[in-house]
Symmetry: C3
Subunit: 139 residues, 3 copies
């Protein structure tokens, strides 16, 4: 069994945003030399998500509005977590809706994806450097 | 390390619906000859989920109503994504609540499940052919 | 390839609650002798979650309130599932928001975590014994 590890560094210049990281994960897979196995991709932070969906800007706008409705940023004082001096309790909620990690099959050296599947980093507490872990196991 | 791959084909005859695919995943596992490892099951589409829960029709009715409350199908024009000519923005939201994929442990050649765990395909934009990926790695 | 399996037993003395199980998963990893691979952690029950987030009591209070708003326990009769004699339909919803399982990278014999990542068991239908599966594959 082979294994591979890399950290991707991102810095979203706004509180919330979505980045398509598919090509960076593909580069990792290529570097790894692994042909059959699993790729795990997860943020190393707890106010962000890695998820798979469509690369369509209207949809990303919809996600943002929808998540803000399900777990509004304000009022800040509406969350006990924010009494610790944070203002990001909503980001911890949004991250749970969108999920932490994805596991993707590797087949013949490629991400085994359907037509529209793309990997995104979802930031809910940005304007700072964050790390994304890519770990691959297989042969 | 051994690996195995299969696509299951489904076609849900309504916009939304849930299919129990446990026995099909068990067949794949049997075919693979893998005794210890992980199974990954995911739709190859971005308006559907694979998830693990109870095979109880009342519960599935509740899920449907609840998801429709969290992310209503209508008004279609309430989502920017639908300006692309689609009417399925809500399906992209519902899929995130229910999750994309499941990873299941394989132990002694069987899905390592608790009493009530069953694998479901959740369709949120049906009436067309869809593919589900089953990938197994292990020994 | 090596594999390892263990069941952790928990019993949350209230209907809902969160337990930090990180150190128990670390013990499993140590016992496994696996240095590079993946850990899968999932409840063997369908009204509970395993998820990764922050060990901060205010946040856990916020999660509880938020989940209760998204999928209220009462009225019991508001869910068809509860006509089976159960009163836990809401727990099946809450579990989907928080997710079933986590997959964690193993690097150099350790859980490959960012600073604040901790593994939690989220109980939504407690006051009974439950099992959590830890399965590790790698080398």
């Amino acid at each position: 069994m082979k294994s591979y590890r890399k950290e991707l560094i991102v810095n979203v210049p706004s509180r919330r945003g979505f980045l398509n990281i598919t090509s960076q994960v593909e580069e990792c897979l290529h570097e790894s030399g692994i042909a059959e196995g699993f790729v795990l991709v997860n943020p190393m932070h707890i106010t962000a998500s890695v998820f798979i969906n469509d690369d369509e800007s209207g949809l990303h706008h919809d996600y943002d509005q929808w998540l803000e409705k399900l777990a509004p940023h304000e009022p800040i004082s509406g969350y006990q977590h924010n009494r610790t001096g944070e203002d990001n309790a909503d980001a911890h909620m949004k991250r749970q809706v969108m999920g932490r990690e994805v596991v993707v099959a590797v087949t013949k050296g490629k991400l085994d994806f359907g037509t529209w599947e793309q990997i995104f980093y979802g930031e809910f507490d940005g304007m700072r450097k964050k790390r994304i872990l890519v770990k691959i196991i297989g042969e």
